[in-house]
């Protein structure tokens, strides 16, 4: 009798375990949790985690009449795209996961999306903005960041209407894929708006001393300095601009000012620096999972005790879009159907109105412009949704 009961219990346990597994949709992500992109990588992960929590709180992803819990398997790529590619291969072949949430960084997405494409797995990414990602004829990659070449366009458009009217621009950029494209786009935009580009120069990725470049900028005395790099170089440029008393009318960056750590690292030196932003906390968008962007910000603050950065929002939005596509496709296993649902996707999310062209690139989203004012990021453009007026020209360093 005892044996029978035990066997029954064991069976119950087994079937319960199996059932719990069948009620789950597992996503995979290989992110930079350590290394030079650790900051951004962890932010994207926070976004994924918050989305997972929110969906699971509501019962899960709905397919037909059944709800499936979300689970995400993470690996750390140590900020090495090659390692990221290997880990995504592991996710697909060993862990049997075909729904991949993207990493942060253009190079990482570039390398890992080649793997998802090869194995016919799907990737939705809210972490990379290089144009080059979408010129390879891939069918399985969908990205929600406004692409690199359009990054600085809105800042330059905003500044051309200011007085005294800025005439000259210096553009410096880190020589990685993403930053080089931002710089190319910025140069094109600058010429389109009638600025004179007096300096256009690259520096090696990860450089920690840019004093020569800063001195060279000083020699040209430009009205606007555009820095197209990553968080760490942005900090270096601001610090060394102060060291060498370089005083442009506007100092703007593609990446950096939008991150909360920007003000923490630079303190008062961060004041009046401009930045391009994929997303800000104050944008008024509806969202199918969180309710609205404002609700998302509230939930994020409750969980992480800090304001979400655009990376985190991008991560959450990527999850939301993946989820909505799966729900619309009505399947969690038929990759072709989910792909079709993504291609036809058109919905307002916390990240903006999302729609993909046939290459998988988001279209018509644009960029917001922010400025550090009184130690916080304020949206200053587009003026219709701005919180405050942009300070221009930037006061000289103290």
């Amino acid at each position: 009798m005892k044996k029978v009961v035990l066997a029954f219990l064991a069976l119950l346990l087994l079937s319960y375990g199996a059932k719990a597994h069948a009620d789950e949709i597992v996503f995979g992500a290989a992110l930079s949790l350590t290394g030079k992109l650790a900051k951004e990588g962890n932010l994207v992960k926070s976004g994924y985690e918050l989305w997972k929590e929110m969906v699971n709180k509501k019962g899960g992803i709905k397919i037909g009449n059944k709800k499936y819990k979300v689970n995400i398997k993470y690996y750390d790529d140590e900020s090495d795209p090659n390692r990221g590619a290997k880990l995504v291969e592991k996710l697909i072949t060993e862990d049997k996961i075909k729904l991949i949430l993207g990493p942060y960084g253009s190079e990482s997405v570039f390398a890992t999306s080649a793997i998802t494409e090869k194995y016919g797995a799907l990737m939705v990414q809210g972490g990379a903005a290089a144009d080059k990602l979408y010129t390879r004829g891939f069918k399985n990659l969908f990205g929600i960041y406004t692409v690199a070449t359009e990054y600085m366009d809105d800042i330059l458009e905003m500044l051309r209407n200011k007085s005294p009217k800025p005439a000259t621009v210096a553009i410096i950029y880190s020589n990685d894929l993403f930053s080089a494209q931002v710089a190319q786009g910025a140069k094109k935009s600058a010429e389109k708006y009638g600025y004179n580009v007096v300096l256009y120069k690259d520096y090696p990725k990860g450089t920690q001393d840019l004093s020569t470049v800063i001195v060279e900028i000083k020699g040209k005395n430009p009205d606007i300095i555009l820095g197209c790099g990553h968080f760490q170089d942005t900090i270096v440029i601001v610090k060394q601009s102060k060291d060498y008393k370089v005083n442009p009318k506007a100092l703007a960056f593609s990446v950096g000012p939008a991150l909360p750590d920007f003000v923490d690292s630079l303190k008062s030196d961060a004041e009046n620096v401009l930045g391009a932003a994929q997303w800000t906390t104050t944008l008024k968008y509806k969202d199918p999972v969180f309710g609205s962007n404002t609700e998302f910000v509230k939930a994020y603050k409750a969980k992480y005790k800090e304001d979400p950065a655009y990376h985190a929002a991008g991560g959450a939005a990527a999850g939301v879009i993946f989820q909505r596509a799966i729900e619309k496709a009505g399947t969690k296993d038929d990759i072709a159907k989910i792909r079709t649902a993504l291609s036809n996707y058109s919905e307002e999310t916390l990240y903006g109105k999302i729609k993909f062209d046939q290459t998988g690139k988001v279209v018509g989203k644009g960029m917001a412009v922010i400025q550090i004012q009184n130690r916080s990021q304020r949206t200053v453009y587009p003026e219709a949704v701005a919180e405050s007026k942009a300070v221009y020209p930037k006061p000289a360093w103290k």
Partner: protein, 292 residues
């Protein structure tokens, strides 16, 4: 005017290169060890300064003796109880040993201190000396001054003290040195200790001028390598000249040709030196070569 500013920057940077090169060239010249872990040891010094500044809010310049002494001890123990085991083997074995040590230290730092960039920013960071059109950040000036002073002290130590002379004697003729009552094992350990101490010191100074992470260890070792080749092995004055030349060439090439070509130019310079004058600017035949 901009050229003048860039020259000044080059000299200031050269001061730092001198200091990181001095320890490296001394170890190479005297003990014939090419210490590939030099940059990693420098970073240990940088982390010492970082943590002391972070937790006890001590002025970073005050931490310099701490990082020098700890790395000095570290270097002494390392040479005495590890390197000495293989010192009589082929130079290739020592190279592998220091390479392994570099990998170990970098991974150790990555594990315990994370791969994130750290920087030391005291309150007076960002203030500069302005001389007409030339701007000199005070911190860089301070770093330069310390580099020069330490290099001079090191030179004085080698030329004027008994221990210093013993170090030189050992590098010149080990047998004659032994006959005069010098214990080479001790001298080797002492030299390595000085090399490591100077590396730690330069790392601490590095943390003041730029952000650092364990990943930059290799780059630092390479700079020290170039300085040694340029200046001539085992010579303090050589490292001084080599460091300044490297600093000025790097900043000038960054300005004239482009920041991205800086490394290529620096290495090109080194190769050129090896072709034209393999013993370096101030190197003479005897150092490091007599022994083998």
């Amino acid at each position: 005017m901009i050229i003048l500013q860039i020259l000044v920057n080059g000299f200031l940077l050269g001061g730092f290169y001198t200091l990181i090169g001095v320890g490296f060239t001394l170890v190479w010249g005297v003990t014939n060890i090419i210490n590939l872990a030099h940059g990693a040891i420098a970073l240990l010094g940088a982390y010492i300064t970082y943590f002391i500044f972070q937790y006890w809010h001590l002025d970073p310049f005050v931490t310099l003796p701490v990082s020098f002494l700890s790395m000095f001890l570290f270097g002494y123990v390392l040479q005495r109880y590890l390197m000495n085991l293989v010192v009589k083997a082929q130079i290739f074995m020592l190279l592998i040993l220091t390479f392994g040590l570099e990998i170990f230290l970098v991974n150790f730092m990555t594990t315990f201190f994370s791969a994130d960039f750290k920087s030391v920013t005291p309150d007076y960071a960002g203030s500069s000396l302005v001389l007409g059109d030339i701007v000199i950040p005070y911190i860089r000036l301070g770093v330069f001054a310390i580099c020069v002073i330490v290099t001079l002290l090191m030179s004085f130590f080698l030329d004027r003290t008994w221990t210093g002379k013993a170090i030189k004697a050992t590098s010149l003729d080990i047998e004659a040195a032994m006959m005069s009552g010098i214990n080479p094992a001790k001298i080797y350990a002492l030299t390595f200790a000085f090399g490591s101490g100077l590396a730690g010191l330069s790392g601490s100074l590095l943390s003041l001028t730029q952000a650092f992470s364990p990943n930059i260890a290799g780059g630092l070792t390479l700079r020290a390598f170039i300085v040694s080749i340029l200046g001539g092995l085992g010579r303090i004055e050589g490292a001084f000249l080599g460091g300044l030349v490297l600093g000025v060439v790097e900043t000038m090439s960054s300005y004239v040709i482009g920041e991205s070509y800086k490394n290529a130019i620096a290495f090109g310079l080194m190769v050129l030196m090896l072709i034209i004058k393999p013993s370096g600017l101030l190197g003479r035949k005897y150092y490091a070569e007599v022994k083998h």
